[in-house]
């Protein structure tokens, strides 16, 4: 298998970029849905009445992580068919765990005496959550979202196998036709996107982090 620089340059500049937006959608949409679900679950599971459920729900989310994305697609295939929808669903399930785990860990780690003082001053539960627990949890929650984002960028490649498009299209084409130039071109974009996502989220994290940590 020889490496043709012309094909590589063509793939890098002409063929691959058209998949960028598709791939970005395959990352941002599942990530947003997962962040919403995981944050809600994480907040509910750290409330006094539900704390005992936290472990069981974490087992469920852990299970979600052990199922390969392809298997998730296979399981939902009879209901959702092939294509974009199942790909989004599988990626969402995949992105859930790091965010929910970090949310639960972060909210649970807010010092007891801080919560005690906040309640003792006369904050309602809602005020304690919004003004104390969540602001102090931002760094850890954002770390979870970063992990999920990088994970989703690479996992989203598999979406192409079920007709879900994305950068996987060019990579799998390269594999099928023995063209390493295509695989390399696709991989470069995947890597760049992972790094870019990570940096963007890190910047957002810095923006919304509690002031004493800046």
């Amino acid at each position: 298998m020889n490496f043709d620089l012309d094909i590589f340059m063509d793939a890098l500049t002409q063929r691959a970029p058209q998949y960028l937006v598709e791939h970005l959608q395959l990352v941002v949409i599942p990530l947003s849905i997962a962040a919403f679900i995981a944050l809600s679950a994480g907040i509910i599971l750290t409330r006094p009445g539900f704390r005992h459920l936290a472990d069981r729900v974490m087992v469920l989310f852990n299970a979600g992580q052990t199922i390969p994305p392809l298997a998730v697609i296979a399981i939902f295939f009879p209901f959702l068919g092939l294509g974009y929808g199942p790909a989004i669903l599988a990626l969402t399930i995949y992105a859930l765990l790091p965010i929910s785990r970090n949310t639960i860990a972060a909210v649970s780690a807010v010092p007891r005496e801080v919560l005690d003082a906040a309640r003792g001053m006369g904050m309602t539960s809602w005020q304690v959550l919004c003004r104390v627990e969540l602001p102090l949890s931002v760094p850890t929650i954002m770390a979870g979202i970063r992990t999920s984002a990088v994970l989703t960028v690479s996992t989203a490649v598999l979406a192409a196998l079920v007709g879900g498009k994305g950068m996987g299209a060019i990579i799998f084409a390269g594999i099928n036709f023995f063209r390493p130039e295509l695989v390399l071109a696709g991989t470069i974009y995947i890597g760049a996107m992972a790094v870019a996502m990570e940096r963007v989220i890190a910047f957002v994290e810095w923006l919304i982090s509690p002031a004493h940590l800046k």
Binding site: V114, D116, A117, G120, M121, M123, P135
Partner: protein, 321 residues
């Protein structure tokens, strides 16, 4: 005024009550100290007054109102709360921490700002430098002061203080105690104060409530408790220097002999009548004399002798039969 009526608290999953049928009353303007070993229920009682814990049975009223009829958050905004671990919000500046309760009460911004400055000065901190700092940039003593300032921010008539000076070294602690007592002379707050340190209890308290294993063992003024401990538990709690503690709380005028003539000359030792006997004793030992003149202002009103002190100690601090 705070009243507890047969308050009990049993935590879920335990059989033994943490607080067992405790009743007492804290009068307005007084410092009432709950004292006892760890696990005696003093903190639980304190936390029931602002509903951070709910009693299993009994009734608590604050200024005649049953606290169970009030919204807990609203109730807590009218009661200052200081804890040993302080619990300043780490992501807020000192100014923001102190503004917490006034903000919850929707005070206008300008009023909050003025109040924060006033309070930081009151607790001996420089608003200009400390106000903009974050809690992790403060020393232990400074943090404790901020904790007290935050609790006093909305000028609550009642304060609950759980070992408020417990996390600082003994020298700073004594300093903070003295300052707080001086503040209290003007503020006249109704204060419930929890400590395990009997010396702190005797020093800070107008009234002591002595607790053991969830039960109220004895209550009274420090002098009443010191001179008439209810049982061996209280006796042990008071320590081996009970007599000296009594002398610290007894004024010279109480033990002086009013009828004896004091031979006055320029070298003779005088002491003001309101000073504690302990100071007179110190003076006698230092000067190697056995009597001092007691005066009110410029006028000599009596004589305090070594013998009368000795007799007093042996009379009041005699072990129980």
């Amino acid at each position: 005024m705070i009243t507890l009526d047969r308050i009990s608290k049993t935590f879920p999953g335990t059989d033994i009550p943490a607080v067992d049928r405790v009743s007492f009353q804290v009068n307005a303007g007084n410092i009432c100290v709950f004292v006892g070993p760890s696990g005696c229920g003093k903190t639980t009682i304190l936390r029931m007054i602002n509903r951070l814990e709910e009693p299993s049975s009994g009734r608590i009223t604050v200024n005649g109102q049953d606290i169970m009829s009030l919204d807990p958050a609203v109730l807590r905004r009218t009661i200052g709360y200081v804890i040993q671990q302080i619990g300043l919000l780490p992501h807020k500046t000192i100014e923001q921490n102190v503004s917490l309760v006034p903000e919850l009460l929707n005070w206008p911004k300008s009023k909050i700002k003025a109040r924060v400055t006033e309070l930081l000065v009151l607790v001996g901190l420089d608003p200009g430098t400390v106000g903009r700092k974050y809690p992790h940039q403060l020393s232990g003593g400074q943090s404790q002061r901020v904790g007290v300032a935050r609790a006093m921010a909305a000028d609550p008539p009642i304060m609950l203080m759980d070992e408020p000076f417990g996390a600082v070294d003994p020298i700073v602690r004594i300093h903070l105690q003295d300052e707080f007592l001086r503040l209290q002379q003007h503020l006249k707050k109704t204060i419930c104060f929890v400590t395990h340190d009997i010396n702190e209890a005797v020093k800070m308290g107008d009234y002591l409530i002595i607790l053991n294993m969830g039960r109220l063992i004895q209550m009274g003024t420090p002098l009443e408790v010191l001179t008439e401990p209810a049982d061996d538990f209280v006796l042990n709690l008071l320590g081996d220097d009970r007599g000296v503690k009594i002398l610290d709380l007894t004024r010279c005028e109480t033990l002086m002999d009013r009828d004896r003539n004091f031979p006055y000359n320029p070298d003779s030792c005088l002491i003001q009548s309101v000073k504690p006997v302990k100071i007179a004793l110190e003076l006698m030992m230092k000067k190697n004399i056995d009597q001092v003149g007691v005066c009110k202002g410029e006028r000599i009103v009596g004589v305090l002798t070594w013998n009368s002190i000795k007799e007093h100690i042996s009379r009041v601090s005699r072990d129980r039969p």
